[in-house]
């Protein structure tokens, strides 16, 4: 019996879909059988990020309505032999096309077959959110170090408290180390202190992420990129490894080292 994890944030555009795609990829790289479920009905993106949109024939709504079998709607990612699958959302319907109970039943079916079921939650706290959360065992809340997304994450954590989940974890996304150093961006530790839930990963704001979106291949597959490493570390933490958090600072230059040697800051 696998584990269902919902990736949510409240606010839109903080990187839920990218996070789902990358954690899924990283878990598959570690040899786990993973199914990604896009519950953002009407505004589906996960298939795009994974580069699988041209292979969609049936979707989540078709499965729920009985137009097809579950395995017919699942798309296998050929880059990971038989380890990574995607269940896409419908693009032509909206959130009310399915009920939370139907989604829960679907997730329960998937859990029997996979090690991890990652649920990509839509923005907002309405029915789409309830659809996504109901079948989950754990939740990962994604936020950026900005007041508006922290506020929304706080709201969502409050709503998740009612769901009796096994655990709720935090990912702070799009950190710009040089800006936190100068005090122009909220410090990661302050974000964690404020939201008071366990952090499971910090992801730097990395241009490679954008590059890989256009390449239609998750950045976690890139072993050079810092963000890719951050996502792979998160996947390992999900498996239970204790991996130290990424050092965000850029390597010190020669001059800085000399300066520090002489005690000049």
């Amino acid at each position: 019996m696998g584990e269902a994890i919902v990736i949510t944030s409240g606010k839109g555009g903080v990187g839920k879909t990218t996070t789902t795609a990358n954690i899924g990829t990283a878990l598959a790289q570690l040899g786990k059988r993973v199914c990604l479920v896009d519950t953002d009905i009407g505004l589906r993106n996960l298939d795009l990020v994974m580069g699988l949109e041209n292979r969609i024939i049936f979707d989540l709504v078709d499965v729920v309505e009985g137009n097809c079998k579950l395995h017919q709607a699942m798309i296998k990612d050929k880059r990971f032999d038989d380890l990574l699958y995607l269940l896409p959302a419908a693009q032509t319907k909206d959130k009310s096309a399915v009920t939370p109970e139907q989604v829960k039943e679907l997730i329960d079916q998937l859990k029997a077959d996979f090690d991890y079921v990652l649920i990509d939650c839509p923005a907002g706290i309405e029915q789409g959110f309830r659809n996504a959360v109901i079948g989950a065992d754990k939740a990962i809340v994604v936020t950026t170090p900005e007041v508006s997304s922290i506020r929304d994450a706080d709201r969502v954590i409050g709503l998740l408290e009612r769901e009796n989940l096994e655990g709720t974890y935090l990912i702070v996304n799009r950190i710009r180390p040089h800006m936190t150093r100068t005090g122009d961006m909220i410090d990661v530790d302050d974000v964690v202190a404020m939201l008071s839930i366990d952090p499971i990963g910090y992801v730097p704001d990395d241009e490679e992420v954008i590059k890989h979106l256009n390449l239609k291949e998750p950045v976690a597959m890139n072993h050079e990129a810092k963000a890719g490493l951050a996502y792979r570390n998160i996947a390992r933490r999900i498996l239970g490894d204790s991996v130290p958090f990424l050092n965000m600072d850029e390597p010190e230059g020669f001059f800085k080292k000399v300066k520090r040697l002489f005690g000049i800051r």
Binding site: R151, D152, D154, R155, I157, G158, L159, M194, L195, S196
Partner: protein, 224 residues
């Protein structure tokens, strides 16, 4: 001739007149006698300068309607001012409400954006109040954590209430009907001590926690 027990006894005290009402007779007969006394007898006391009156009902429970009837009768005399109508009994409901109001409710959790905590009486929150959260009660609010949301103490109009916090950075604080925003806009790093807010001269003032016992000495009567 045996003296009939009076249902309404009027006694003079330093603070004014005290009306002792018999608590065994029916309410109607009580009203009747009160009316008679106010209208016909004791002309010397019941006319002249304004007198404050305390009505003592003993072990009789009166509804608001009945209380109003008593007030109406006493009001027939222009110089009588009802200060208080006291009864030695209250309903269960009122007793429960008073009991709740005198209790400190303890919450041990973070109050998050969009969440609301309401309580009759005092609140002790062990955890943070995050921005977008609302905490309100009829008594005092103590936050063992950082207060970054909105807190409303004494929401029934009790201006004696205080709001205390480990870290006081509220989005807004209200005590009774007085509202204050965090206008000084200081940053969390600047703070090193606990603080509380109270009302002084119709304005909210924030003071260091060690001043609390001087400004609100009566708070000490609460036992947590």
């Amino acid at each position: 001739m045996t003296k009939i027990k009076q249902k309404v006894m009027i006694k003079g005290t330093k603070e004014g007149l005290v009306f002792h009402m018999d608590d065994t007779c029916s309410f109607d007969s009580l009203l009747q006698e009160l009316r008679e006394k106010v209208e016909n007898s004791h002309q010397r006391i019941l006319t002249g300068p304004t007198v404050g009156i305390t009505v003592k009902l003993g072990m009789r429970y009166v509804s608001e309607e009945q209380e109003q009837q008593i007030r109406d009768i006493l009001r027939m005399r222009g110089n009588l001012v009802v200060k208080a109508i006291e009864s030695d009994v209250i309903t269960k409901e009122e007793a429960l409400r008073d009991k709740l109001a005198s209790q400190v409710r303890i919450y041990t959790r973070t109050v998050r954006s969009g969440q609301v905590i309401r309580h009759e009486g005092d609140l002790l929150l062990i955890g943070d109040v995050n921005p977008g959260a609302l905490v309100m009660c009829t008594g005092n609010i103590f936050v063992l954590g950082s207060l970054r949301g909105t807190a409303h103490a004494g929401c029934n109009g009790n201006k004696e209430s205080v709001i205390a916090a480990f870290e006081m950075f509220p989005a807004q604080i209200r005590i009774a009907g007085i509202v204050n925003r965090n206008s000084d806009g200081r940053e969390p790093e600047e703070l090193t001590w606990m603080e509380f807010a109270y009302v002084a001269e119709e304005r909210l003032v924030i003071e260091k926690m060690n001043q609390l016992h001087k400004i609100r000495p009566e708070l000490g009567r609460f036992v947590i």
